[in-house]
């Protein structure tokens, strides 16, 4: 028995080696594939995806990736981008940075993709030098303001309001409700969590609000009672939340338990449908800025998405905000590829992105404008509120006042 098991293992190892060997000749020279076929039918455009389906952020990463893939299927079913199909090569990196680096190397060096759609803050940051060196336009689910300056990160593009941008809009809102509001931030110890901290603090002071401090709620927390007590001690009444669904729900519930009179204001990943399920009536009245719209809203762009999903047998209630986000990613990337023309090299796609001027997403999200000096596309953000168990927009798309 033992001997047999050993032999099976040996066999597996041989297969494994053979597997590595055989895949090698098929690898094309980087960047060569898309450029060389001008005649119809055009060669497909290779685009990379680095998604998290099975890792720590799989709960939101999975619908996001499904949205991206749905859009690619949709555009290909309509003949692709100017006759060229999009060939989406993607990797599930399970929210582990070393795996993301490996995935990035595979996509750019082996598959020869000309642009990548990424995911987390930690890994997007980890790759920004590689991205600049390899000239790979990169949009990701990390809306960090640190990535919008082309002088330092020339190939990163941010397609939704940055966390800082959203907090500015939120602070304006707080100011409009209470001129001397005392504001604070709930965050976590990660690049994602700390991203808006300095900007929000500075803006609050600039518009004349009192910044009372910031408290840490870990992503894995099961209660935030101490943190809520601390917020109460500080006297904060409008508090920004930069967390994921789980930690946001916990914070809201603990606040309700303590009877805290605090208006919480969520940014990007604090805002989705699951939050309402997890926090129950504690979510009522919570306001937030989602990165993209909800599937039940109106708008030509949203209808397109929902109709396509329906044609694939996916019902409206099975779609969610993160799915729409993925769909919007696909749409924005396709638009850039279309504008890049026949030779979608990294530089061409970068130029194409920089030609976006008030590009309308048909209700999917804030209109996008990129310039050669500013890669933060969304200048405006829209505030939503939980009303009778449902996220509803309460404002138009607003730009920060100052």
């Amino acid at each position: 028995m033992k001997a047999m098991v050993k032999w099976i293992a040996v066999l597996m190892f041989v297969v494994l080696l053979a597997g590595c060997g055989s895949s090698k000749p098929t690898s094309p020279a980087p960047g060569a594939a898309p450029a060389t076929a001008p005649a119809a039918p055009k060669a497909p455009i290779k685009v990379g995806g680095i998604f998290d389906l099975t890792g720590g952020t799989g709960d939101v990463g999975k619908p996001h990736s499904e949205g991206v893939r749905a859009y690619v299927a949709y555009i290909n079913s309509k003949g692709g981008v100017d006759g060229a199909k999009i060939d989406l090569q993607w990797v599930d990196y399970a929210y582990q940075t070393p795996k993301a680096v490996e995935a990035y190397n595979k996509l750019t060096k082996q598959d020869g993709v000309s642009a990548v759609m990424g995911w987390g803050t930690g890994d997007t940051e980890a790759m920004k030098e590689l991205i600049a060196k390899d000239k790979i336009p990169y949009i990701s689910g990390s809306y960090s303001e640190q990535l919008i300056n082309p002088a330092t990160t020339p190939y990163n593009f941010i397609v939704a309001p940055t966390y800082s941008q959203a907090s500015r809009v939120m602070l304006d809102y707080a100011k409009s409700k209470k001129a001397d509001a005392k504001v604070a931030l709930v965050y976590n110890d990660s690049g994602f969590g700390k991203s808006p901290l300095e900007d929000a603090k500075a803006y609050a002071k600039k518009i004349g609000l009192t910044w009372t401090g910031e408290v840490v709620v870990p992503l894995t927390a099961s209660d935030a009672v101490t943190q809520v007590l601390e917020l109460q001690k500080m006297g904060a009444d409008y508090v920004l939340i930069q967390e994921t669904t789980n930690a946001t729900a916990v914070t809201l519930k603990s606040a309700k338990q303590q009877g805290a009179k605090i208006q919480f204001m969520g940014l990007a990943y604090s805002v989705d449908e699951n939050l309402i399920k997890a926090a129950g009536d504690a979510a009522e009245g919570f306001i937030g800025i989602p990165a993209f719209a909800f599937p039940y809203e109106t708008g030509a762009g949203i209808k397109e998405a929902v109709d396509f999903a329906a044609s694939k047998g996916i019902k409206l209630e099975d779609l969610n905000q993160k799915w729409i986000q993925g769909w919007a990613f696909g749409r924005i990337m396709s638009e850039a590829l279309k504008r890049a023309g026949d030779k979608p090299t990294g530089e061409a796609i970068r130029k194409a992105f920089e030609s976006f001027k008030d590009y309308d997403l048909g209700g999917l999200g804030s209109p996008l404008t990129f310039t050669a000096t500013d890669h933060g596309g969304a200048k405006k953000a829209r505030i939503y509120q939980v009303k009778s168990g449902k996220w509803q927009p309460i404002t138009e798309y607003l730009a920060p006042k100052q």
Binding site: T54, V250, A278
Partner: protein
């Protein structure tokens, strides 16, 4: 009562309430370690598994909560026994590194398996406990915390009685004390080990179901496996009373650190238990109540 007093009181009460849940989960570690010398790093996965089973029963199959809880405990016990039989049995008497890694491998396997069945999205028990607080003077407690505290205390008492008076409980203690002697007295050590894993899975499932009611159920719950390690170590890996005391100590410590030190070192709440752990280990290497193994040359 002054504001700072009620602040302190709230921190203490919250610490005790959370600590009871820590004790419960830590008890799973201690039972298994005591009976078989295995440090079960898959304890966090058993917590999540219990939560998912409870969720499937109550929310999916619409079983009433209490009945669902009992059923979930039963199913978890079976799963625990199964794990012991299939995975751990070959490792009796192996060196610690093998045992650590096999439970680590087990935790990865279980996580992937649960992921396969239930996905990763955040699920929640619907509307069992009200979000409205219970107000006792200056202290405000949420209903679910109070119930989980009650359940944890009930289970801790029940288990203590079980170990003291029931035949199986006595057999388990005997096995933990001296496997050889237990065998020669006619105790089936294999059965006892199976029962140990069953009990560990049971307490994990209760912990999981209540935690799931507090924060929702998703793979993040597995982090409780690591989180309560300091609890088990603090009390001593092989001491049942140690786990109970350790849970309360760590719960209170965490809350006090969060309440008073967070302003200076944000995020200290999470690390404080580990810092205390290192200090405790340096002073009392076998924890507060652990059996000291004295070796002399």
């Amino acid at each position: 009562m002054s504001g700072s007093m009620s602040f302190l009181l709230n921190l203490l009460v919250n610490g005790i309430v959370v600590g009871a849940l820590y004790s419960l989960i830590a008890l799973g570690f201690v039972l298994i370690y005591k009976a078989s010398g295995v440090l079960n790093l898959a304890q966090g996965e058993m917590v999540l598994l219990g939560a998912y089973i409870g969720l499937t029963l109550t929310t999916g199959l619409k079983v009433p909560f209490l009945l669902g809880l009992v059923l979930a405990i039963g199913v978890s016990a079976l799963v625990g026994m199964g794990i012991e039989r299939v995975v751990l049995r070959p490792f009796i008497g192996e060196p610690p590194i093998s045992i650590i890694m096999v439970t680590m491998g087990l935790s990865l396997l279980l996580r992937a398996l649960m992921h396969f069945i239930w996905g990763t999205e955040l699920r929640s028990f619907q509307g069992l406990f009200s979000n409205n607080p219970i107000v006792l003077g200056p202290v405000r407690l949420s209903e679910v915390f109070l119930w989980s505290f009650a359940a944890a205390i009930f289970l801790l008492i029940a288990l203590t009685l079980f170990f003291k008076y029931s035949l199986l409980g006595i057999a388990m203690r005997a096995t933990a004390d001296d496997e050889q002697a237990a065998l020669s007295m006619g105790i089936s050590v294999k059965r006892v080990l199976g029962a140990t894993w069953a009990v560990a899975a049971m307490v994990a499932s209760v912990g999981g179901i209540f935690l799931g009611n507090i924060a929702g159920v998703n793979p993040l719950l597995t982090s409780y496996g690591l989180k309560v390690l300091p609890v088990a170590i603090l009390g001593g890996l092989d001491s049942v009373p140690g786990a109970i005391v350790g849970g309360f100590v760590i719960g209170i410590l965490e809350n006090l650190a969060g309440g008073y030190l967070d302003t200076y070192w944000p995020g200290i709440k999470e690390v404080a238990p580990f810092i205390v752990l290192v200090i405790i280990l340096l002073i009392k290497p076998y924890g507060l109540y652990g059996k000291e193994i004295i070796e002399r040359v």
